[in-house]
């Protein structure tokens, strides 16, 4: 399988502190690739680098042979790397459908048409409802984001990322702060939407990683510690000491 998203020698330094240190990453098309590691390992920084929210100090990022490093986030989003945020980041006054319509419009030039009526955005309605249906929010399409439950907000985040029709979907801790039931539902949801898509996810919950991930990259102190299928890395002694040992003990 071909590599769709790759990083080479990627580093990010904050005033002498290397949050991401010489990271190589190859994401295979059609796979689910999990980034795990203890807090402060640099996973979210890596996400921000891949999506342009941070500029790398050194290194390259390519999406299907296209250089991404140095491009602004909106351009990277339009090129095909969509992300969700660790903390739900929505517009409280807009309905779920408004959100998805706005996301669908992002890839078109319609957003610039200040002389047109906003009724023109109705052209996105059907697709928006389809996407909401895909994440099981069809019956909440007209609910304001501020009134959605936590789990529903996360599902809406996912719909927004899907609306960009991305080549790669980056999910930052999709199950963070969820109870057992919501985690199960989210895992089921991601398992369904991953069909035909490439997903990179940061995740702390090892059960989620075990269920979804084809490849796992373990990070520690900004570096890649080890990479491989879940079954292999969970037995790796380095990983057990660095991270999994703690998680297993707390499970």
């Amino acid at each position: 399988m071909a590599t769709v998203l790759s990083a080479q020698g990627l580093s990010k330094e904050f005033r002498g502190f290397r949050a991401v240190d010489d990271v190589d990453l190859d994401v295979t098309e059609g796979s689910v690739h999990a980034l795990v590691g203890p807090n402060g390992a640099g996973k979210t920084t890596l996400f921000n680098l891949l999506t342009g929210f941070l500029a790398p100090t050194a290194g390259r990022i390519t999406l299907a042979r296209q250089e991404l490093a140095g491009r602004p986030p909106d351009q990277i989003a339009r090129l095909g790397v969509a992300r969700s945020f660790q903390i739900s980041s929505l517009f409280p006054q807009l309905t779920a459908r408004d959100h998805v319509e706005l996301a669908l419009q992002g890839g078109t030039g319609l957003g610039w048409r200040f002389w047109r009526s906003d009724r023109r955005m109705a052209r996105f309605r059907n697709r928006a409802l389809e996407l909401l249906d895909e994440v099981r929010l069809a019956n909440l399409a007209e609910t304001h984001a501020g009134a959605l439950s936590y789990g529903h907000k996360r599902a809406l985040e996912l719909a927004l990322a899907l609306a960009l029709d991305p080549k790669v979907l980056l999910l930052d801790e999709p199950t963070a702060g969820m109870g057992v039931e919501d985690v199960t539902a989210t895992v089921e949801l991601i398992g369904r939407v991953r069909a035909g898509r490439t997903v990179v996810l940061v995740e702390h919950n090892m059960k989620v990683v075990a269920t979804l991930a084809d490849t796992v990259t373990v990070m520690q102190s900004g570096r890649v510690l080890v990479e491989g299928p879940y079954a292999d890395i969970r037995r790796d002694p380095r990983v057990v000491t660095a991270y999994l040992g703690d998680a297993d003990a707390s499970d």
Binding site: P72, A77, S89, L90, D98, L102, A103, G111, W115, R116
Partner: protein
């Protein structure tokens, strides 16, 4: 239900139009002219403050530049006054491109300060360039020509200028209710998310800035022709401040609020000046402070909130969050 209907758009529009058409019968026509010019200026400022989340403290630069450009064109070319006014608006929009480009990268108080600094720069240039602007003497003797029709009577000039203001107000309404307007509100409420959805936030802010400046210029140009005179006051920072005050008084993010705020402030200024009161600022300042303390959403914002039980489709009351930096916190 009936109240909802009364607050509905067609009724409001009819009332507003009726008020605009009868205004010079009710109040002194030159004051009526000032009122509608300031109304458009305030609405233009609201486009930026209420719908983009940017508090500009330098819009006098656009109002004043358009005033000078319109005045100069009318004085030197003898073209019909609407052409001069449009040229003024175009000049304001052109000036807004570099100023906006350098300003929209900052948010909140920094944006206000950067725009204020640029406006002071424009003031300095207008003051120094005496040969063109007349400096402290002002630009005088601006004609009101419209294909030889005599418009020297302010009563008739009001009706000649009103269509320009109405067209400007319609433009502002169109922008807010456009796909672009929807993106602006998203940029205002959560810039990081808007970026992640593929919207180049700074470019959207820049276009909003230029549109707002163009509408301010339309108002400023007509104001200059109406007075037949442009003074340095038009590019002075208190002019920027007064426009912001009108918006806050009427209600941020409501469009109508700017119109109401402008009407009140212009009427109050005129009343106090006619009564021979010299420290007008003390009274308007007190009225402003009291209104904002009692009605946090402004006059129209509060009225609409009470009538319909919600704060409108997309407008947001309260200036507190105009520092749109909140969503930028993802750079963790």
């Amino acid at each position: 239900m009936i109240i909802r209907l009364l607050a509905g758009r067609p009724i409001l529009l009819a009332v507003g139009l009726l008020a605009a058409l009868t205004l010079p019968w009710v109040i002194y026509p030159p004051v009526a002219m000032d009122m509608i010019c300031w109304a458009l200026f305030a609405v233009a400022v609201d486009l930026l403050l209420g719908f983009t989340g940017l508090l500009s403290f330098g819009h006098a630069a656009f109002w004043g530049t358009a005033a000078y450009v319109s005045g100069l064109i009318a004085v030197h070319s003898g073209l019909p006054f609407p052409v001069a006014v449009l040229a003024g608006a175009l000049a304001a929009a052109t000036l807004a491109v570099p100023i906006g480009w350098l300003s929209v990268r900052s948010t909140g108080i920094y944006f206000a300060m950067v725009t204020l600094a640029f406006a002071q720069l424009v003031y300095f240039v207008a003051n120094q360039w005496r040969g063109l602007t007349g400096g402290e003497n002002g630009l005088q003797g601006i004609p009101r020509d419209l294909f030889g029709v005599d418009l020297s009577d302010p009563f008739f000039f009001y009706y000649a200028g009103l269509p320009i203001i109405l067209a400007g107000l319609w433009c502002a309404w169109r922008v807010v209710r456009s796909p672009f307007g929807r993106v602006l509100v998203a940029v205002r409420d959560n810039p990081a998310r808007a970026r992640a959805l593929g919207y180049p936030v700074e470019k959207y802010k820049l276009l909003a800035f230029v549109l707002s400046a163009a509408l301010s210029g339309l108002a400023g140009g007509l104001f200059a022709i109406g007075h037949g005179f442009v003074s340095l006051q038009e590019v002075y920072w208190t002019t920027s401040g007064q426009a912001v005050m009108m918006v806050v008084l009427g209600g941020i993010g409501t469009l109508w609020g700017g119109v109401i705020g402008a009407g009140l402030i212009v009427e109050l200024n005129d009343y106090l000046a006619t009564a021979g009161f010299e420290e007008i600022g003390i009274v308007t300042g007190t009225v402003f402070a009291a209104t904002v303390l009692i009605f946090r959403r402004g006059i129209w914002g509060t009225a609409r909130h009470l009538l319909t039980g919600h704060s409108g489709r997309r407008g947001r009351a309260g200036a507190g969050r105009s520092a749109a930096a909140d969503g930028e916190a993802v750079r963790a």
